[in-house]
Symmetry: C2
Subunit: 130 residues, 2 copies
DNA sequence: CGTATAGTTGGATCGTTGTCAAACAATTAG
DNA sequence: CTAATTGTTTGACAACGATCCAACTATACG
């Protein structure tokens, strides 16, 4: 059974974590993990609207950033958030991101009913010479 | 006097904000703004280790993500964090990122002594075997 | 006016990233 | 063993992003 490399707590980099969370697909995965606790890749990637391999790359990005932990059991990979590690290194960060994610508009990720709030356009009347 | 376009509060996107904060140079700028309240571009970009125009592009990224507000006065551009707007849309997010940034290793951004809180090196002895 | 200051804009370059498709690997079921 | 399930890896490709340089705009100062 292969052991996937995870960064240790001391190696967690704020910018890499923010970067990992800044993709709609990955953020959705993180939100699902926060709700479910532990998911297989299939569970976490269900209806994400991206190809299986794309999702796999996102799992890797999240893992290498230290956001998730992946445990391989048989043919299933169980993913979970590294809540404690993240909390130890960056207290409150994950919680506030998750809380923000629940307040955010549904990102264009899951096809199920995220038609969006009719695109409130920016005023932007003052367009300066662009 | 030109008015730069800023996204309205309702248009703030979590992933774009996280993306804007996920660059070491931009995060450093944000940290400086948090400490100073308001800075000119020259002030915010002092000793960042990047070219003037690169910094300018970062200002734009931060502005378009809704993280900073830029006010033009004469030939100076004053930048400040959109604390209230960010707090209204994503409560606690900015605070936790700033708090995390102060805990983080000094990113390879400011070579010399920056205005920040006392660059403390982390031991980083425990390597997870990557 | 001419010059200095403050910052933006527009290439150009080069590395990174998100995506899909197809092949592959590993485990489990028949 | 054969096939199905689960996920990764590799390759290709377009899009993005960070950077520098040069040119440009706009204000201020002499």
């Amino acid at each position: 059974m292969r052991v996937l490399p995870h960064p240790s707590v001391g190696d967690l980099r704020l910018t890499e974590i923010l970067r990992a969370l800044s993709d709609p697909v990955r953020l959705e995965i993180v939100v699902r993990l926060a709700a479910a606790g532990e998911l297989t890749c299939t569970g976490a990637g269900h209806d994400l609207g991206v190809h299986k391999s794309t999702a796999s790359h996102h799992y890797r990005t999240l893992r290498e950033a230290g956001v998730v932990m992946t445990k391989q059991e048989g043919r299933l990979n169980y993913m979970s958030l590294r809540r404690d590690d993240l909390e130890a290194r960056f207290p409150g960060l994950l919680a506030s991101v998750l809380s923000s994610a629940s307040r955010a508009d549904p990102e264009p990720t899951a096809p199920g009913g995220d038609t969006g709030p009719a695109a409130a356009r920016v005023p932007a009347g003052a367009d300066a010479g662009r």
